[in-house]
Structure formats: structure tokens, C-alpha cells
Symmetry: C2
Subunit: 275 residues, 2 copies
């Protein structure tokens, strides 16, 4: 188990022994921790040990996890499976899933507020970023666009707006957190960096989903995917591959202006290509 | 419109013009603002103007409102009405209600983090109190107890544990916020004060509900109330009246040790009797 996984385990062990903690543990299990790894790789580029990012990375992972729980609910996407196992409201109950999501969100702010790793001003900056970009300046607004956009009317601009809020929101936070910890003031640069990483992440995710599904099902599922509002509803497979290549190139250019050693972040992003 | 109501309106006006903001406005409308008034009356007892409490009172009211929205959902209490109008998931949609609740909770922390009224250390203390007592040290834990407790097995101790977490949690916050703003360090005293006020508030609420229902329906509904886990499931009407009188007396004693002028809080609590 990695050190960060042990950090998550210590957090869960410190919580009340009750059904909500069991549900939180179930939902937190099995994540790829990609957003935390963005935090750690930028921190390393600042020559700051990654342990310094554990509490805020945990908070971000808790917010990511709560959003999956609530997105899976019957009234939202109504997904019975998540990460190859029953989604939380199936494994537990729907009321417990709502409460466990609420608790993950609520407690993510306590984790940062009570952290021993940051100065009060840094905590406030991190909490402000979390609550803005996980909310109306990001994830929740993106989710609203997603549930209210008619999939037949979606175009490239609308798709980008949804992705840049829904997925990009938390990646913006993942880039801002190490900036705040390093005590650097380049908010525009790191917000844009998060936006670019989020865009590549989401497009790659849609691409791999499609390739995997096609391989498993032995047929082209792009039509079936159309109504899910993914990149494949507005791009052909080849256009999407080209888009991702262009986005990687643009990101490489952008990173030349970085104020941190970018090699760790580059290594992490290269993993994305090979998933 | 009171100054605090105008503060809530200014907050809503500053938000994105979208369905979630409409839903938040709908849900925030019509509250009695009792928890904010606890904050203001203690602040006045510290000779601090109540405006100083507006941002944290707004945050607390947002958390109270989100909890009502999620509690009313079909998977939870399945209540179609709230404050004499359709509950949020009936007036809007269930997915919008879940998202609006999530956004109220998320943004409550941003309201405190971005406030111009508090020092960073004070913000951290307030955020820590909000996330603890609205979470596993209070409201959410109380809600878990509520949805998992078999009403036939409920006794006075269990009922108190549910109330002291579910209702008491936010009242503890309402008492801690002015303490932090005043820069006083008597956490045990103010937490206990919140617990006592929450207990009286909840018992009075149950009592008035019953009296009102009996008057309207012209019959004794205490049996029907039994399965709702209110005070009337373990106390007779007369026992409950006596309990509340005793609790008021105990509170008056307790307030003799207060480090603030208690007359404003007393005035507010007396309103409770006459509701």
C-alpha cells in the first residue's frame, strides 16, 4: 500500500465506527488517485515533499468520491456499477449513499481546516479553491449543464464548457493546491494548467472507454455513446485522437513557462497515454 | 426586509444566473432564521454588532437549508411539503434538488473563507466548527441514527442522542461562532450552551407540532406521531411540558456563568415559548 493510501486508511480509522464510515471506505476504495498524483508531481517540481500535500489531496479525493456517489444515484445518472463493483446506493442503501456523500463533502473541509501541514492563510486559500471549483465555478455547474443539456443539441463549444467545469474544476484545484503550498502567486497560470490537464484526461477517458467497449463488444458503439454527452458525440474517433495529440502538444508548450520542474508532471501525464 | 434578509439576497444576486441559484433561492426563502438569531444575540451580548456575524450566519443557514432539502428527498423522509409549499424536489426536479443541496453545502465554506469580516485564524475555527458539528460530530451522525433507529425500540437516552446530534449540532455551531468572533476560548461552555438550546428548540418544536395538529384535526395524534421518533414517542404531553420547563430553568442557571450579557439571548429564547 502506498504512503498516500495509508494516509487515507489512517483518516478512515480515525472516524466514528458506524455505517457512514463503512460506506465512505467502500466508496474511497479503488480510485486511481489521479488528482492527488497531479498535486504530488507539481509539489515535487517545487522540491516540496509530497507528504505536504496529503491532507489537501485527501480532501480533493473525498470531494471527487462524493460527486461519484451522488452522480450514480437513481435521480441522477442511475448507475448500478462503479469501478467494477456495485455503486454505493446498491451496496448500501440510497439514504446512506446520500448521507455518506454529504459527509465526504462536509469533512473534506474539516480535513484541511484541522490539518497540521499548512498555515492558516494557506488553508483559507485551499478551502476557497475547493469550494469554488467543486461548486458553481466548476464541478456542480458542469453537472447542472450536463443534466440540463439536450444531447441532440450538443456541439463542441458546449461539450468543452461541460467538461471544463465538470472535470476541469477538480483539476484546477489539483494545480492550485501545490501553488498555494509553495507560496507562489500565479493563479491564472495554474488554473489554465488544470483546465488543460482536465481536458486531456476527460478526452482520453472517453477515447479509452470507446476502444475498450468496441473490443469487448466487437462492434462500434459510438452511436450508443452519443446520448451520453461524451467527446464521441461531437468528434469521430480519428478527430478525437487528433484532438488529444494537439492538446498534448499545446500542454508541452505551455509547460515551458512553468515556474516548477515539470518532469514529474510530464511523467504522470505520459501514463495517461498508456492507460 | 431585515438587514440579514438583505444580506442573503445580496448573496443570491451575486451567484450565477442558473437553475441551481433559483433552487437555492426557493429553498432559502421563508426560514425563521432562528440559528442566525442565536448568533446575533450572543454577539450583541459581547457588544459586537450583528453585521459581524452575517457571513457565518449565512453559511450556517445554507447548511441548515441543504440538510432540509436532502432530508425531504424520496429516499430519505420523502416529504412533499416544506414550510407550507412544495419541497424542492417537487417544485424543481429531484436531480436539481440534490445538486442545489450539494451547492449550498459546498458554498457555505466559500462564504466563510472569502469573508471580509474575519481574520484567517477565526475563519479556520468557524470552518472547523461547521464541518465537525454539521458532520459526524453532529448533524449527519444524528441523521444516520434517525434513519437506522427502529422507532419501536427508542427510549429517552436514544432520543436525546439523536436530537443532540441532529438538531443540537447546528446550535452548537451557532454558539461557537460568536465565541470565535469575540476571540474567547471557552469551547466547552459554548458547546454545552448550544446543546441546551437545541434540546429546548427541538422539544418545543415537537410540542407545538402536536398541539397544532390536535387543534386542526380535532383529535389526539400522539399515536400517529409515535413512529416519527419525536419527543412524543417517549414522553406524554404533560411530561414533555414539564421537561421543557425544567430545561428552561436549567438553562437560566447555566447562563449565570456566561461571560457575555445574556439578556438578548434570553429575549430570543422567550420567543420560543410563545411560538
Amino acid at each position: 500500500m502506498s504512503d498516500f493510501e495509508q494516509h487515507i486508511k489512517r483518516y478512515l480509522d480515525s472516524q466514528k465506527n458506524c455505517l457512514i464510515t463503512d460506506a465512505m471506505a467502500y466508496a474511497l476504495d479503488g480510485g486511481k488517485r489521479f488528482r492527488p498524483r497531479v498535486i504530488f508531481s507539481i509539489l515535487k517540481g517545487f522540491r516540496i515533499e509530497e507528504e505536504k500535500g496529503y491532507d489537501s489531496a485527501l480532501a480533493l479525493e473525498m470531494i471527487q468520491t462524493y460527486s461519484l456517489i451522488h452522480d450514480d444515484l437513481p435521480a441522477m445518472d442511475n448507475d448500478d456499477m462503479r469501478r467494477g463493483k456495485p455503486s454505493l446506493h446498491k451496496a448500501f442503501r440510497e439514504d446512506i449513499a446520500i448521507l455518506a456523500g454529504d459527509q465526504l463533502l462536509t469533512d473534506s473541509f474539516r480535513v484541511v481546516a484541522d490539518s497540521k501541514s499548512y498555515h492558516p492563510e494557506t488553508k483559507i486559500s485551499i478551502i476557497s479553491a475547493l469550494s469554488s471549483y467543486a461548486g458553481m465555478a466548476g464541478m456542480i455547474y458542469g453537472q447542472l449543464l450536463d443534466v440540463t443539456t439536450d444531447s441532440s443539441s450538443i456541439d463542441k463549444e458546449k461539450l468543452f464548457e461541460i467538461q471544463d467545469n465538470k472535470t476541469g474544476g477538480l483539476f484546477k484545484i489539483a494545480c492550485l493546491i501545490p501553488m498555494y503550498i509553495a507560496g507562489i502567486d500565479r493563479k491564472d497560470y495554474f488554473t489554465r494548467l488544470g483546465s488543460m490537464i482536465g481536458e486531456i484526461f476527460q478526452n482520453q477517458d472517453d477515447l479509452f472507454d470507446l476502444i475498450k467497449t468496441e473490443e469487448e463488444m466487437g462492434k462500434n458503439l459510438s452511436d450508443a455513446k452519443n446520448d451520453k454527452g461524451t467527446a464521441l458525440s461531437v468528434y469521430s474517433l480519428e478527430e478525437l485522437r487528433k484532438l488529444i495529440d494537439d492538446e498534448f502538444e499545446e500542454l508541452n508548450e505551455y509547460l515551458k513557462d512553468a515556474v516548477f520542474d515539470t518532469r514529474y508532471l510530464m511523467e504522470l501525464l505520459n501514463i495517461l497515454k498508456e492507460r
